[in-house]
């Protein structure tokens, strides 16, 4: 009797969450980065509430983008070093859905926590209540795309010298559409405009990324293991 794909998927998801639970520092570091970077901005541009609320959507989104990127190192590196990745690649299940599960588990322990933290930081930067909700929704739709796109970069740079800096060079340009529409929605909401179109676009990006990137990441992982 062999496990079906769903059983294996659940197994991977639970294991990755359990590992994150046992190594909380790894999860907390990108979050701390998010908080620190956004707290530095008022010191740089001055404490005037109008200036801060004008800059807040961009600052929060760029900080979330960088924090999400920094957490990517955790996605495959440990599994690559200890041989778990080989076992995944040799699993009798196709690699693509297994990768999707790993990215999902990674998002739960990175992007989702950024969403949870965001209202706090939005308050710090004097963002209105309505815009705060918009920020949380855009992060909820956008950070999974960041994780999915980032997984391709993380897989490509596995075991490559200068991997960390290289990863940022590969991944950040790909992130631009998410930044534009994520921050755009928050700005629009802060000035009382409709944000429906932004949400639809971010949702469309999410579907596109779900369909395309796990395949690319699986291909990249097989290349890195070769």
């Amino acid at each position: 009797m062999s496990h079906n794909l769903l059983g294996t998927a659940r197994c991977i998801f639970q294991r990755d969450l359990l590992l994150a639970w046992r190594k909380p520092a790894d999860v907390a570091t990108p979050l701390a980065f998010f908080v620190i970077v956004t707290s530095l901005f008022p010191l740089g541009v001055g404490p005037e509430p109008q200036v801060l609320s004008r800059l807040a959507p961009g600052v929060l989104w760029v900080a979330a983008l960088l924090a999400s990127m920094l957490s990517l190192g955790r996605l495959f590196a440990a599994d690559h070093a200890d041989g778990t990745l080989e076992q995944l690649a040799l699993s009798p299940h196709p690699l693509t859905p297994l990768i999707l599960v790993k990215v999902a588990a990674h998002w739960v322990t990175s992007g989702l926590l950024l969403v949870v933290l965001s209202p706090l930081l939005a308050m710090q930067l004097n963002l209105s209540g309505h815009a705060m909700v918009t920020l949380a929704i855009t992060l909820l739709l956008g950070t999974p795309v960041l994780s999915l796109l980032g997984s391709v970069g993380a897989a490509l740079t596995l075991g490559v010298r200068g991997g960390g800096v290289l990863l940022s060079l590969l991944v950040l340009p790909l992130y631009t559409p998410i930044l534009i529409f994520g921050a755009g929605a928050v700005t629009a909401s802060a000035s009382g405009l409709d944000t429906q179109a932004y949400f639809s676009l971010l949702g469309a990006f999410l579907l596109l990324a779900l369909g395309f990137t796990p395949w690319a990441t699986a291909a990249a992982l097989r290349i890195s293991l070769d």
């Binding site: 290289l166 060079l169 790909l174 755009g184 690319a216 291909a219």
Partner: protein, 252 residues
């Protein structure tokens, strides 16, 4: 056709093609520049500054074309394991990156007389800037991986993800640009579009063709280098090296 898919035959074929392609490219450049700088009349709005278009626009077109070609070649190399396709992708990257840089610099030099400032977050320039970053990523990734096969395949995956993302980036930047730019500043493309006359269109097309052939000339030279490097253990490359070593001082 299939005969030339072997690196050895391609090396010889490319060696024969390069002088011809190079000569045609040079003639097209001379003719295009003559039409563009001398024959075409000044624009009634922009005066002579619009003449930068004859290099900016072909460079911008080529920068996108080369990236798509690179991704296509990468896909062919990835799926059918064809070395020449890998080499084409690797050889294209620095040329594409340099043409993107050219589009950026000439665009900003055209922007100064048009907008009064060297850099405006115009849709075309911003897209080009991110395209440049994508090229840099591709080159850096391939440079960081020593194993030639892994390097080629990793680059191919990145180029494929990039080629899907480029239209999205482009469209996002246009959307963003229309939201944030005051209406008085139009994009460079919009400024040219209504005022294009045959006297301006002809040099533009000839310069574009010249850039296109220039790319192929240079990519063939680069591919010859790549072939030598990657096939260095084969008999035919060793033979070329030996015959070349007999007269090393004969070349400048």
């Amino acid at each position: 056709m299939y005969k030339y898919a072997s690196p050895k035959n391609f090396y010889a074929l490319a060696g024969r093609l390069v002088p011809w392609l190079g000569t045609i490219t040079l003639l097209l450049f001379v003719f295009g520049l003559y039409l563009g700088l001398y024959v075409a009349p000044p624009d009634y709005q922009q005066g002579d500054s619009y003449r930068i278009m004859f290099i900016h626009v072909p460079a911008a077109w080529m920068s996108m074309f080369v990236y798509v070609l690179m991704a296509g070649a990468g896909l062919v190399g990835l799926v059918w394991n064809i070395k020449l396709a890998d080499m084409l992708a690797t050889a294209s990257a620095p040329i594409g990156a340099s043409l993107t840089l050219m589009a950026l610099v000439t665009g900003s030099l055209w922007g100064k007389p048009t907008w009064g400032t060297y850099w405006v977050w115009d849709a075309r320039l911003t897209s080009e800037l991110f395209l440049f970053f994508l090229y840099l990523g591709f080159i850096a990734l391939q440079a960081a991986i020593d194993d030639p096969r892994r390097s080629a395949r990793a680059g191919a995956v990145l180029a494929l993800v990039g080629v899907v993302d480029i239209p999205i980036i482009h469209f996002s930047v246009i959307w963003w640009n229309t939201l944030h730019q005051p209406a008085s500043i139009g994009s460079l493309g919009k400024i040219i579009a209504p005022t294009i006359y045959p006297t301006m269109l002809h040099p533009l097309l000839i310069m574009s063709l010249a850039f296109f052939l220039f790319f192929f000339t240079v990519v063939l030279i680069r591919m010859r280098g790549e072939i030598l490097a990657r096939e260095r253990h084969t008999g035919w490359v060793m033979q070329i090296v030996r015959s070349d070593a007999n007269a090393p001082e004969a070349r400048p």
